[in-house]
Amino acid sequence: MRRDCLRRASETVLAGRGLTKSFGGVTVLHDVDLRIQAGEVRALLGENGAGKSTLIKILTGAIVPDRGELHLAGQLMPLGDARRLRDAGIGVVYQEFTLVPDLSVAENIFLGREPGRLLMDRAAMRSAAVGAFRDLDIAIDVDAPVRSLRIAHQQLVEIARALISDARVVIFDEPTASLPPPDVARFLAVVRRLRERGLGILYTSHRLEEVFSIADTLTVLRDGSVVESCSMAGVSQRDVIRWMVGRDVSEEFPVRNPTLGDVVFEARAFSRLPRVQHVDVSVRRGEIVAVAGLVGAGRSAAALGFIGALRPVHARGGQLLLDRRIVTFASPSDALAEGVAYVTEDRKGRGLFPLMSVEANITISSLAAFARRNWIDRRLERSTASEIARACCVRASSLLQPIATLSGGNQQKALLGRYLVKPPRVLIVDEPTRGVDVGARAEIYALLDHLSREGMAIILISSDLTEVIGMADRVVVMRQGRTVRDLPRGEATAETVMSAATLQS
């Protein structure tokens, strides 16, 4: 099915050969070849963590590969030189916008490469910006501050910026992740126009239907290697999902044969607009329910919504039931008091206290448990912390060392331990194995299994399909702020979960 040969007539604009990159001993990209022709849209697909972002960062010069080379229109390019690569004609549109809200559209487009020597040549800037948008057949006021534009228009400004220095290749990194559906179609039309102009386009998106409507060829990455590179002709969505997922569930997971109790926690038609639209999920005593979905599907937002920590919220609806009793939590401390704990996915940003000791990080949520009239019993604190550290397999030379000095895996286990000092009845863990080494990963799985056997109800939010299939007694899939499938263990396969997460049903 490889059609690359058929297109030999057209020119290869961008070629990466043998690109390899490892971080701290872990190879994230292994001997990757990638070719983009003029006038083609090549989709770059893969699960979270497959290496797409690393590859894109190499192409844009944000990171330097350990090995490999990069050719633009047949010319060898310097690696890791973002400015040179941009000026040579590699443009990029990121998922997260990189615009300055208070500057005008034209100023944003020329940010960092303003024409004119001492003073900016504002007239030249303006007319070039107007010209760029005319080429795209889009009407935008180039003098308006970016802040005043709709999201879809801000994206177009990003595109204009990528094009302004005679780009020959444009890389789109999840460009539609933050666009409402009607704008997606309009956006895709712009991409087609760029293709007609002979640009080479690399396109990543988690939305498969979108990929199928726009891409000519595709490259699939799995665990840092190219597993498939071919034309889209004759390829089905099923094929793509199989290529992306590929792996078997390995033995790193404990064998689950849970004895389920009553429903402990339930969300009914739970909504916290704008990010959480409609969530139905329940979890029983002793059960592990996985919440799967793509990044941005609203899984973490829903969990934060449950415990009263989601900001901003414009409208709220639905109910939470704890032991069949309607509850609302105004803050995480309310939720913890009722036995509902949430362990964040953002370990560094919202989890750890980097300056505090391992011990203080573990005990911070439950100081009242070893305080008499507010005075902390230090002995009790110390013995509790070391007990928890042992139960969670936290390896540290001393519990008094700052937590920032531990490895990612040990930090994660300590963070998990924080919420086990006073065992909650409902434990929501969000991406508990992200950035965690294999050994610690297995320990975390064993710990979660153990806790559920003791009767804890566990909600496991995860983007790692293998983990979802390996750990869950039931899988709830979310897409665009809604729960869309509820799959029992037998029916949850990588294919069914991935389909539900990516396809319009």
């Binding site: 401390s333 940003g349 750890l352 300056l355 911070i364 305080a371």
Partner: protein, 301 residues
């Protein structure tokens, strides 16, 4: 590699060095009169620094303490001049500080205005209130017993009590740990069940209480209610806390560091006076010392 325990209390070694140098190079430093003066002159800066330590560790800043000193001072003085017993008047002065601090905390946490702006506004308001309250006059004729508060012994005991209590609260209570947590990572603190807003409000009340107490001490030392009292004291307090090793980003600092910092700055002032350095040069030297301390701190972390 310097051991952590020494590094953490580096300010005391610097303070000791400062004292040794002054003792060796001047005749006037190591006299009981001079040392008593240093203690009395700096007791209120130290008390302010104790309160400021809580605020800075929590990741905020309190610019209003100097003005609270002025307001609490004139309030206490006026009440005594009207015949209110000394104890009650002193209590009212301290409580006025707590009330202003509570207002700071309320506006900051409930109306979500940054601490810098809230306390900057309060600095102007409280100072204006002190002037209006007295018609910009100085209140005199205070009872003699009030003056005893700023005697060397009383000032030292007060300061010791403030620092002892502050240390216990900060290092031995759940609230103290929460102050460090809020300054270290407010988001993480919230998700850990710490009531971040409540901690912040209490921190400002503590700072207000210390400022109120400092106001009373200053009034006692001046033996008058002077509406200008305490001008720029907030800067001395912040300098003391920062020189003592606290981070203005929050999460790091110690109460003993603040004490050391306050006296480091105090002894420096004293030394510059003994050397008859002109007031203008003194300002420049103090500024330079603060900068050097901040740079040393940056290189350590």
């Amino acid at each position: 590699m310097i051991p952590r325990s020494i590094e953490r209390h580096a300010i005391f070694f610097v303070l000791l060095l400062e004292c040794v140098v002054l003792a060796a190079t001047t005749d006037g430093f190591l006299t009981s009169t001079n040392l008593g003066n240093v203690l009395r002159q700096n007791a209120f800066t130290a008390v302010l620094a104790a309160g400021m330590t809580f605020v800075i560790i929590s990741g905020a800043i309190d610019l209003s303490v100097g003005s609270i000193v002025g307001f609490a001072g004139v309030l206490t003085a006026d009440l005594m001049a009207r015949g209110v017993p000394v104890g009650l008047a002193v209590g009212a002065g301290i409580l006025s500080g707590v009330a202003i601090g509570a207002l700071n905390g309320f506006v900051m946490t409930r109306l979500r205005v940054p601490a810098f702006v809230v306390t900057l506004a309060m600095m102007l308001i409280a100072r204006g209130a002190a002037f209006k309250y007295t018609d910009a006059r100085t209140i005199t004729g205070l009872p003699e017993s009030f003056q005893l508060l700023s005697s060397g012994v009383a000032a030292t005991l007060t300061m010791a009590a403030v620092f002892g209590i502050s240390w216990a609260v900060l290092m031995r209570t759940a609230f103290g740990r929460h102050v460090y947590a809020v300054g270290g990572n407010a988001e993480a603190a919230s998700l850990s069940g710490v009531r971040v807003g409540r901690v912040q409000r209490r921190v400002f009340m503590i700072s207000g209480a210390c400022a109120g107490l400092a106001g009373v001490l200053v009034a006692s030392r001046l033996n008058a209610g002077y509406p200008r009292a305490g001008e720029f004291y907030e800067l001395d307090a912040i300098a003391a806390v920062v020189v003592g090793g606290a981070s203005l980003f929050g999460g790091r600092g110690s109460i003993w560091g603040a004490l050391g910092g306050a006296f480091f700055v105090g002894v420096l002032n004293n030394g510059l006076n003994l050397f008859r350095v002109s007031p203008y040069d003194q300002l420049m030297v103090k500024g330079a010392v603060l900068l050097i301390a901040a740079c040393l701190d940056r290189s350590r972390h």
